[in-house]
């Protein structure tokens, strides 16, 4: 974390407040049976501290896009800048990732799973434990640190996964359908929890989901993608006040916003 300050001092011609800038991004997979165009000409800017949700039909390239923003996959062409600098390789100081399956290591306890990123950097044991415990409290799992993943419910596993994504305090958090495997009730609770965590940590979040309700409930802005090859075909600002409440879901505005997103997706399909 010692080399965080030079990053902050780099201010280019782009507005300093943009955490993520994607321009002219295109990706073509070299699949088994020929080339698969997955993404075409994606351009998007996410301001620092914003919560942006991406929706779009299955297979339109949402996961691919997130992987590229995380530096886990190289795009065919185009640029991605995170915190003002291109991202060519995974950089846990800038980007944390939360996957659809919680993907916890079954041989580690919840606490050790959260410590994992710090252990990779050989952080001192005491610092690791303190930091991991803070994260455990943040996600509301105090007292569960010694449990193994198989002893946790689906929702608890995702909480651990979020804590692990945040443990290095990256300014950007990428989340690929993190709650898709959960039941409806748990899913709503987790959405609410995520907003609480987000408001306490001031992260920039990019969140992929198939649930339009979830999208409207969470987002400052929803980006709608077309079917493959994915393009961004709509941007819908969600100007609902914060903190969001469950009651808002019953309001007309909420319904209208959800409808507008649905129309955009349907037009494409």
């Amino acid at each position: 974390m010692a080399n965080v300050s030079p990053v902050l001092s780099i201010v280019r011609d782009e507005p300093a407040s943009a955490a993520i800038e994607v321009a002219g991004l295109t990706h073509v997979y070299d699949g088994r049976d020929g080339k698969v165009p997955a993404l075409t000409d994606i351009a998007m800017t996410v301001g620092a501290g914003r919560f942006v949700v991406i929706v779009g039909p299955s297979g339109c390239g949402k996961t691919s896009l997130l992987m590229m923003m995380a530096g886990l996959r190289h795009q065919t062409s185009g640029t991605i800048r995170i915190q003002g600098r291109p991202i060519d390789n995974p950089d846990p100081e800038r980007v944390g990732v939360v996957f659809q399956e919680a993907s916890l290591f079954p041989w580690l306890t919840a606490l050790d799973n959260i410590e994992f990123p710090l252990a990779l950097r050989h952080a001192p044991k005491a610092e690791r434990a303190e930091r991991a415990n803070q994260m455990l409290n943040l996600v509301g799992l105090q007292g569960f640190g010694a449990r193994y993943p198989h002893e946790l419910s689906g929702g608890m596993k995702q909480r651990v996964s979020i804590a692990r994504g945040l443990v290095q305090d990256p300014p950007v958090l990428l989340m690929d359908e993190p709650f898709a495997a959960l039941d409806e009730q748990t899913r709503m609770t987790m959405g609410h929890e995520l907003l609480r965590i987000w408001s306490q940590t001031a992260k920039t979040v990019v969140f992929v989901t198939h649930s339009l309700t979830e999208a409207v409930y969470l987002a400052d802005e929803v980006l709608v993608m077309s079917a493959r090859p994915g393009r961004i075909i709509g941007r819908i600002a969600i100007n609902l006040p914060r903190p969001r409440t469950y009651e808002m879901m019953a309001t007309d505005i909420f319904g209208c916003l959800r409808d507008r997103i649905w129309q955009q997706i349907r037009k494409e399909g």
């Binding site: 846990p92 996957f99 399956e101 290591f105 990779l120």
Partner: protein, 250 residues
């Protein structure tokens, strides 16, 4: 059922078998020339345990088993990981290995004798050879049991290749690898026995084969008991090792 009851029942069964072994040949229900009574076998066992020739055989057999194991397991594991990790190597070698694996290894024994004679080296080489394939196959399966999403998570947190190997691959593969240790010990021990029984001048396998050929049945059965004890000792040793290694996992 309590632990105590279980042990009691097991001991009871053992006692039953041994009593039958004692009583049936004594009363002539079974020909004592084919199955000597248990007490005769025990006294023979006591007698042969005093022979220097038997001491040497136990030492030689144990040494062969240990050396072959120490060669076959790491070598097989390394080959298995390489095959699983390299697409080309996998495509070339996997089918070949699969076919060789399905062939009984004992048909290669005469070749080992032709090349290496019938000494210690040949026993070790043949036993290691007959163990290698099961280790390779298991190691390949162990690598394939590593979940890609776990590797992806580690990569997203900036893990180096070495860290991915030690912190994701090794713990993911551990359950299968530990299982493999025990199975390979069985293959390994069998390999040593077959080689000794086929052509040798010493070792437990040689003694047993020899006693059998000379119709020395009390010695033969005593030898079998002795061998069983040695084999169980090796299996238990591997189990202790297994517990040691898996202790850090839980």
């Amino acid at each position: 059922m309590t632990r105590f009851q279980l042990i009691a029942i097991r001991l009871l069964l053992l006692a039953l078998v041994l009593t039958a072994w004692q009583v049936l040949p004594r009363n002539g229900i079974i020909n004592p020339l084919l199955l000597p009574p248990f007490s005769d076998v025990l006294s023979t066992l006591w007698e042969i345990l005093g022979r220097p020739q038997v001491h040497e055989a136990i030492l030689v057999t144990s040494a062969e088993v240990i050396v072959a194991f120490v060669i076959a397991v790491p070598l097989g594991a390394a080959i298995g990981v390489l095959i699983a990790e390299h697409d080309y190597a996998g495509q070339i070698f996997k089918p070949l290995l699969f076919y060789v694996f399905s062939v009984p290894k004992s048909i290669f024994l005469p070749m080992f004798i032709l090349i290496m004679g019938i000494g210690f080296q040949q026993k070790v080489a043949y036993a290691a050879f007959s163990t290698l394939f099961i280790v390779i196959m298991s190691a390949t399966a162990a690598v394939e049991s590593v979940r890609t999403d776990h590797v992806l998570v580690a990569r997203s947190f900036g893990a180096t290749r070495w860290q991915i190997l030690t912190r994701v691959y090794v713990p993911s593969m551990m359950p299968i690898l530990l299982e493999t240790l025990r199975i390979s010990m069985i293959f390994n021990f069998t390999g040593v026995m077959i080689a000794e029984m086929y052509a040798s001048r010493t070792g437990l396998g040689y003694l047993i084969a020899n006693w059998g050929e000379n119709f020395q049945l009390p010695q033969l059965f005593a030898g079998v008991i002795l061998l069983a004890v040695v084999a169980i000792a090796f299996n238990e040793a591997v189990r202790v090792l297994e517990h040691r290694v898996s202790a850090w996992r839980t």
